[in-house]
């Protein structure tokens, strides 16, 4: 932090600041509809260059030029309604601005520019700074969850530093569904590491109308991130905000006691025709001995989470700046540090400079951002840790009284407590530098030329070290004492040049944008691994070996380039009939010459009905009404480079002759015909403001058909003998809708805001693979299905019809061939009524993609207090879970029963949820758990109280005495309550990546538990 401070001082030196001097002044405070001051509002004397901006508490002082005492002041700010108010005579003017979602007149960031929201004809949403900041998250995407309809964010792991699945409007392709990220106009920035507190707004572009200008990579939608900047004539302010708190890991599973577990084991053996292994004496002994410590909770602790952000911003007539530094530290909930160094956890350092100089008609903007992250995790992988902690009965302990790490007959190999405390670690360090220079030149009043050059330099290193841990009575971890280093660097360069021409002719307005750009990427890395290193230092010593297979000079060697031309034409008539056209022509190096180019156009139109004279008589109730429609095509080029070429590569250690190792050469087949995926997109929307815009409603419907989806060929038998690169084959339709509702209410001195967003989408596979219409992949004990005419990925197998209640039931019911079952075992549905259970009875069992996603925010402001409550959730999702937390005594690998499994069948509990216990290998177990049925299905719907923030701001009258503009203290709770039928694993976790890939590993419910955060925050502005 010391060095950060130094940098601040240096940067301050660069930036000039100054405030104009003059005569009569106007003072006031600009507040939002819930009574909070809004920082950074532009206050401008209409028709002049005289203006200022509000400070952190929303107050402003505007000095009018000599001699001017009347006129109109314009108050504008991104995300809020612009208001025009005459200059008051008494020198005081307090203003309330309605906020963005309830207004149609504010300015929103769109591709290569900004637009007045009134003129927007595409489907987009804006998430503003106040919805992102002040949340205890390290990743911006976590802060965006639930904030925008159909911006679907799923965390597959809650481990600090782990990524998230993100998609807009669901899954439109079988390939990559991740939206394009654009940060400050530069494509391909890293949204995972940007400091959430540096973000001014995020625009979510959803349809072709809004996204076509990003053409070939916009098929999955676009997230436009705009970071904070200073403002012209802004008084220098220094702000601090931070929060500190504890994360408490919410462990949802609970083992039954050791003696109950032994009893259940006996029951399971007896049910399988085997002898019980625990005598009554053994059971009593276990009971006397009591429970041990071998569970997940003993591997976890409460962990500190803190973020601190400091920013300085200000501006004069010709220069303005924003500088910030941030520090975020998320401790891991795992105990230990791996044996040396800091505890496990994730740290992030951000440093940002945004500086603009106005030199006559040239506006030059420089953005520099440096981010450093460090993530230290354990050396064995979370999956192993949770599996081993879960599968051992509670009569065992992690440690004995002398501190030795223990193993036992169930987990004889490793003791994860020892691994966490002493077994080494995996540490990744990432440095990123983002730089962008942007020059805007006003050639004439109507013609502007903009040039942008941006680059992202990314350097990641990963250090892994496995250290030896000895166990009692037997077992050793990490005796290979492996140490590995990996390094990867890449550079992305982005060059853009575009011109914008604006023309207003009476009631006609035109705006034309034309530009060209090139983006390119180069990357390469290396790795080295050695074993039998020095036990204390991890350095090479006598006997150290190099692991040839994991030591490589050139990995991830890659280069891509894409050149584009793009443009947009806006036309509006009487400000009520709107028309917009977008296009982008892209040339990508990923495709062979003839297949390289692609043209992506879109058109959209809007009609502001509320401006029509015939609406005059109802505009007291309907203050705003706009209809929008758009149609166009978007592209996707998510394939790896060089796939159009067949290549051969040499590798080491293929074989040996005379005990000397020799290299080998492998090959990759190319597909010379590979080209773009194309998504044809239709969108229809409506925006309405009712009762003076107190209630606003926005609705969008979309229909997107993606064709030529890039997929490996699945229509070729494996006897062909080789894998395939991507081909343009599949076709998917995705339809859905989104609703946003906002309601503002003032009762007495209290301001209330209710915001609700709700969305759904549904995909349908239209073509799978040439004439192949169905693909089934066995996924452990159940199957995944892709079938034309149905959602792209579904669970597939037998449907459970109930539990056999007696021998008669068993004998008269259809069963799988060879099934050896009895009362208490699962009965499957004979769907085709042929008297037997076979492949023909398999059916669709569920859809793993979240449907009916929603977010709800309630804000209240009373006097100095403000409260924000945010909940989000998923209305429908099927989750299949397997493993030791699902199947009793799973494969004998698991030797445990959990409290959530204890509703099992016995003759006296015939209506049980689960079948009777039975040993692996028994007919019962094979029938109940090896057969692939919806016994593995769980309801993944949930609602989560995601965030509560209760703040109190000291009255300005008090703070001003100390020379402080604003002091706000808050209490913060995150992830406080989750309501779901799925009660032993967090319902958000999923086995899938962002494409519902059939090759995804199954979900063994071994996820890192959801951290519940309690803490407090502080905001101070000088």
């Amino acid at each position: 932090m010391k060095s950060l401070g130094m940098l601040f001082i240096i940067m301050l030196g660069i930036c000039s600041s100054g405030i104009g001097q003059s005569n009569s002044t106007i003072n006031g405070v600009v507040r939002d509809s819930i009574g909070q001051g809004i920082a950074g509002v532009n206050v401008l004397l209409k028709g002049s260059k005289t203006g200022t901006t509000t400070n952190q508490s929303g107050s402003y002082t505007l000095t009018l030029p000599t001699g001017i005492t009347s006129g109109t002041l314009v108050f504008s700010y991104v995300g809020f309604t612009t208001r025009e108010i005459p200059v008051p005579s008494n020198g005081t003017l307090n203003v309330e601005l309605a906020n963005a979602t309830s207004a149609l007149t504010d300015v929103v960031v769109v591709g290569y520019g900004t637009q007045r929201r009134t003129n927007v004809t595409g489907a987009l949403n804006v998430v503003s700074a106040r919805d992102i900041g002040n949340k205890p998250v390290t990743n911006t995407l976590q802060a965006l969850q639930g904030e925008s309809p159909n911006l679907i964010i799923q965390q597959s792991s809650f481990d600090p530093g782990s990524g998230v699945n993100i998609n807009i409007r669901g899954l439109g392709t079988l390939g990559d569904n991740t939206p394009l990220i654009v940060i400050d106009g530069i494509i391909g920035g890293n949204i995972n590491t940007i400091n959430p507190n540096d973000i001014e707004s995020v625009t979510v572009l959803k349809d072709a109308g809004s996204a076509a200008i990003y053409g070939s990579r916009a098929a999955n939608g676009v997230l436009l991130v705009t970071t904070k900047s200073g403002r012209r004539n802004q008084k220098s302010t220094v702000s601090y905000n931070g929060n500190v708190g504890w994360q408490n890991p919410r462990v949802l599973v609970e083992k039954v006691s050791a003696w109950d577990n032994a009893y259940y084991k006996n029951l399971s053996l007896v049910n399988s025709g085997l002898q019980p292994i625990y005598t009554p004496d053994d059971l009593q002994k276990l009971k006397d001995q009591g429970n041990g410590t071998w569970d997940v909770e003993h591997l976890l602790k409460n962990a500190l989470f803190q973020t601190h952000n400091l920013s300085i911003s200000g501006g004069s007539e010709n220069n303005y700046y924003f500088i910030s530094g941030g520090y975020q530290d998320q401790g891991s909930n795992f105990i230990g540090n791996g044996g040396t160094g800091a505890d496990f956890g994730y740290q992030k350092y951000n440093l940002r400079l945004n500086q603009t100089s106005i030199i006559g008609r040239l506006k030059a903007n420089l953005i520099l951002n440096y981010t450093k992250t460090r993530n230290k995790t354990n050396s064995i992988g979370n999956n192993n840790i949770f599996a081993d902690a879960n599968r051992v009965p509670l009569n065992y302990n992690w440690k004995d009284s002398a501190g030795n790490y223990l193993t036992n007959p169930v987990a004889s190999q490793y003791n994860e407590y020892g691994v966490l405390e002493k077994g080494g670690y995996n540490q990744s360090d990432v440095d990123e530098i983002f730089a962008s220079v942007n020059g805007q030149f006003d050639i004439t009043k109507e013609l502007k030329l903009t040039g942008v050059f941006g680059s992202t330099m990314y350097n990641s290193t990963n250090f892994y070290r496995r250290m030896q841990v000895n166990y009692l009575p037997a077992g050793i971890y990490g005796d290979d004492r492996a140490v590995s280093d990996n390094n990867f660097k890449n550079l992305q360069l982005n060059t853009q040049l575009y011109a914008e021409y604006t023309k207003n002719l009476k009631e006609h307005s035109f705006k034309l944008l034309l530009g060209v750009s090139n983006e390119n990427y180069t990357g390469r890395g290396f790795s080295i691994e050695k074993t039998l290193t020095d036990p204390f230092l991890g350095t090479p010593t006598t006997g150290t070996l190099i692991t040839v297979g994991n030591s490589n000079n050139s990995i991830g060697v890659d280069a891509t380039s894409i050149s584009s031309a793009f443009g947009r034409l806006n036309y509006s008539y009487k400000n009520r009939y709107l028309l917009e056209g977008n296009f982008r022509e892209d040339y990508s190096s990923k495709f062979a010459k003839g297949n390289r180019a692609a043209f992506f156009p879109s058109v959209s139109a809007g009609w502001l009905l509320s401006q029509e004279p015939f609406m005059d008589n109802i505009n007291r109730t309907v203050s705003n009404l706009k209809l929008r429609v758009s149609y166009g095509s978007l592209g996707n080029q998510s394939v790896s480079s060089y796939q159009y070429q067949s290549t051969y590569f040499n590798y080491s250690s293929a074989y040996g002759f005379n005990n000397n190792v020799v290299g080998g050469a492998g090959y990759r087949q190319g597909n010379p015909a590979v080209t773009w995926e194309t998504a044809t997109n239709f969108n229809a929307g409506l925006d309405a403001g009712l009762i003076k815009n107190k209630l606003t409603v926005s609705f969008d419907y979309f229909n997107k058909v993606t064709d030529n989806i890039l997929q490996a060929r699945e229509d070729v038998p494996v006897l062909y003998g080789a894998g395939f690169p991507s081909f343009n084959i599949a076709k998917v339709k995705n339809t859905g809708y989104e609703v946003t509702l906002n309601y503002n209410l003032k009762t007495g001195g209290a301001y209330h805001t209710f915001s609700l967003n709700f969305a759904d989408n549904k995909n349908t596979l239209l073509r799978l693979n040439a004439d192949k219409t169905e693909q089934i992949v066995n996924q452990d004990v159940f199957s995944l299905l892709r079938r034309v005419g149905e959602p792209i990925t579904q669970y597939y197998g037998y449907r459970v019809a109930g539990i056999f209640h007696d021998a008669g039931d068993v004998s008269k019911s259809p069963k799988p061939a060879g099934a050896d079952v009895g009362p208490g075992d699962l009965k499957f549905q004979d769907l085709n009524n042929d008297g037997k259970i076979d492949d023909n009875d398999k059916t669709v069992l569920g859809n793993p993609f979240p449907r009916y996603t929603f977010g709800f925010t309630y804000r209240l402001a009373v006097k100095g207090f403000d409260i924000q409550i945010f909940a989000q959730g998923v209305g429908k999702r099927d989750a299949f879970l397997r493993g030791e937390l699902v199947e009793p005594f799973h494969y004998n690998y698991g030797q445990t029963i959990y409290e959530h499994m204890t509703d099992y069948w016995t003759p006296s509990n015939p209506d049980a949820k689960y079948p009777r216990f039975a040993n692996i290998g028994s007919g019962s177990n094979t029938n109940n758990w090896r057969t692939g049925s919806d016994i593995y299905k769980y309801d993944g719907a949930y609602i989560r109280l995601k965030n509560i923030n209760i703040g109190y701001s000291l009255p300005t009258s008090v703070t001003q005495r100390w020379g402080i503009q604003k002091v706000r203290a808050s209490l913060i709770g995150q992830n406080l309550i989750t309501i779901s039928k799925l009660n032993f694993v967090d319902p958000e976790t999923t086995e899938f990546g962002n494409d519902l890939n059939l090759g995804s590993a199954s979900n063994s419910a071994r996820g890192y538990p959801l951290p519940v955060f309690y803490g407090f925050g502080l905001d101070v502005t000088f």
């Binding site: 084991k265 002898q275 292994i277 006559g360 008609r361 040239l362 007959p409 169930v410 004889s412 190999q413 030149f441 040039g451 050059f453 009575p473 005796d479 290979d480 360069l493 060059t495 040049l497 090139n518 390119n520 074993t531 070996l545 692991t547 040839v548 050139s554 280069a559 380039s561 894409i562 190096s589 010459k593 480079s641 070429q645 067949s646 051969y648 590569f649 040499n650 080491s652 293929a654 074989y655 040996g656 005379n658 005990n659 190792v661 020799v662 290299g663 080998g664 050469a665 090959y667 070729v716 038998p717 494996v718 006897l719 062909y720 003998g721 080789a722 192949k772 004998n892 690998y893 290998g921």
Partner: protein
């Protein structure tokens, strides 16, 4: 103003020029199909790649779990050995795909190598012969498991793969035999190769594999005899081979394993770069084993004869059920770890392995048989292929023998016997030699026993000699003994309830049906190629 404008325009042009990148990019770390084969070293590498695809350690060890030698509780091996031949099992698809990927790689090589104009013609011929052997071996494995299979002797297109039909097994076998014949004429003998080429496919390897292919057909015994006689009697032409001195060292001792007189072909491994470590899951846990994922069955243990040459059930065998492992074929203790086994560690120290429940004086009882733990499911562990030179976690560089001279002797004995030509001289050349090598001294074991029961004796000998070397599943199939060998309870050691099956642990209830002699053709491929028919019964 104009000054700024000019600077600005110059600046724009400057960064457009520096920032743009051309679109014709070629990878810098790979060759293209146009230039790959012209480089000699690449051709060698492509050949080596085919060697690496010849066979793998997973198949080598675990296929034995599909026989009455072993039990594996992992995945499809468990399911198939129990008799559930569900066509969609991954094992049926993965093996099929594996052999065809080897064939693809070989065909690409045979098609591409002619682009090379700098290697000597003789080298190119030899390399082609090596690859033709590998391609024939893959076809042999396919036809052995699946019967009629598509014969693919050129680099086919995806469209051809969607159309190609199954070639009758006889035709596939003819192709394999012809290819091996041809390769044998081109390939150098073991003695003709440079020392540095130790491990390459030789003339003898091609002939021995041809003998094996013919033996498996059951009706080509005269040809088998002829080939074996070449290898046994004309070693100056076909390479010098003899039985190694020590049976166990051939699998364990890293030096003997790599250089001995007996190996005809093995999958080559080199520490530390190219290794296998399946043994981690076969070893007793007290000496470092992880989980016991495959273990010997009582049936295999029982098949080892007594030192006096009698089977344990023969009258006068002297078999003591309470001391079952003494006076047995020395290959038993070279192969299997049983209760009370004296384990020799890598450093020469020894320890006793306690497997019988409740017998281990150490409270951890890691090796004891138990229903709940991760130890053996049968009451036995493996010793064969234990590598004292292995790295941590049994990462081994020992070669896995695919063809040994011992197999040639066994093939010769079996073929001669099947032609009714078994006699004392054939016996002495084969079975007696094998038994003498492992230390039998009793005349009852060494001398020709006459023709009574001789077929069983030869088969038993083959089972004991080649256990854990991926032969037993083949033998069960070609001898058509699946209905007996793979049916009913598979048992483990005598640690169970004395009232059930004489106290032998019930490990797995198995069944085997007539159609199981051939595996099902993977339904996923049949769905994509309507010309692929299915084997009967699936």
């Amino acid at each position: 103003m104009k000054f700024y404008k000019n600077i600005y325009i110059i600046g724009v042009i400057a960064f457009l020029a520096t920032g743009c990148k051309k679109l014709d990019l070629t990878p810098t770390d790979t060759f293209s199909e146009l230039n790959f084969w012209t480089v000699n070293e690449n051709v060698n590498n492509a050949l080596n790649n085919n060697y690496s695809l010849m066979y793998n350690s997973g198949l080598y060890f675990y296929n034995d779990a599909l026989s009455d030698n072993q039990f594996s509780n992992s995945g499809d091996y468990n399911v198939i050995s129990a008799g559930f031949y569900t066509p969609s099992l991954s094992k049926f698809r993965n093996d099929w795909g594996y052999y065809y990927s080897t064939i693809k790689s070989c065909n690409l090589f045979l098609e591409g190598i002619d682009q090379n104009k700098t290697l000597p013609a003789a080298s190119i011929d030899r390399m082609k012969a090596e690859v033709r052997f590998i391609r024939a071996f893959a076809h042999f494995n396919l036809t052995k498991w699946y019967g009629d299979v598509p014969l693919i002797d050129k680099n086919i297109t995806p469209e051809e793969a969607q159309q190609i039909a199954r070639t009758p097994k006889a035709q596939v076998v003819k192709f394999i035999v012809d290819e091996l014949e041809a390769a044998a004429t081109i390939l150098p003998s073991k003695d003709e190769y440079d020392a540095g080429d130790n491990g390459r496919i030789t003339k003898a390897a091609a002939l021995a594999l041809e003998a094996r292919v013919l033996l498996y057909q059951g009706d080509r015994m005269t040809d088998v005899v002829a080939i074996c006689e070449k290898l046994m009697n004309n070693q100056s032409a076909y390479g010098t081979y003899s039985l190694a001195n020590s049976y166990s060292n051939m699998f364990s001792d890293p030096t003997v394993n790599n250089t001995n007189s007996e190996t005809i072909l093995s999958i080559q491994y080199v520490l530390p770069a190219r290794t296998w470590n399946e043994y981690w899951d076969f070893a007793p846990r007290s000496v470092g084993g992880r989980v016991s994922s495959m273990a010997p069955l009582q049936s295999l243990v029982d098949s080892y004869i007594m030192l006096n040459g009698k089977s344990i059930n023969d009258a006068g065998s002297g078999y003591d059920v309470s001391n079952p492992y003494s006076n047995r074929d020395p290959r038993l203790s070279a192969t299997i770890v049983y209760d009370g086994y004296k384990w020799i560690n890598a450093n020469g120290t020894s320890k006793t392995i306690y497997i019988k429940p409740g017998s281990d004086p150490d409270r951890s009882a890691l090796d004891e048989y138990s229903l709940t733990g991760q130890g053996t499911k049968t009451g036995y562990y493996w010793r064969k292929y234990f590598d004292p030179g292995a790295l941590a976690n049994f990462v081994s560089g020992n070669n896995l023998h695919l063809i040994r001279y011992a197999e040639v002797l066994l093939m010769y004995a079996e073929a001669k016997n099947s032609l009714g030509q078994m006699d004392a001289s054939v016996w002495d050349e084969t079975i007696r030699a094998l038994r003498a090598r492992v230390g039998f001294t009793d005349a009852g074991a060494l001398n020709y026993p006459g023709n009574t029961n001789i077929t069983n004796i030869i088969r038993q000998e083959r089972r004991s000699e080649l256990a854990m070397e991926d032969f037993r599943s083949d033998d069960i199939r070609r001898w058509k003994i699946g209905e007996t060998a793979m049916s009913g309870w598979a048992h483990g050691a005598k640690f169970g309830d004395p009232n059930v099956d004489n106290g032998y642990i019930r490990v797995q209830n198995r069944k085997f049906e007539q159609n199981n002699y051939l595996w099902p053709i993977p339904p996923s491929d049949r769905a994509l190629n309507s010309n692929l028919t299915q084997n009967p019964g699936y």
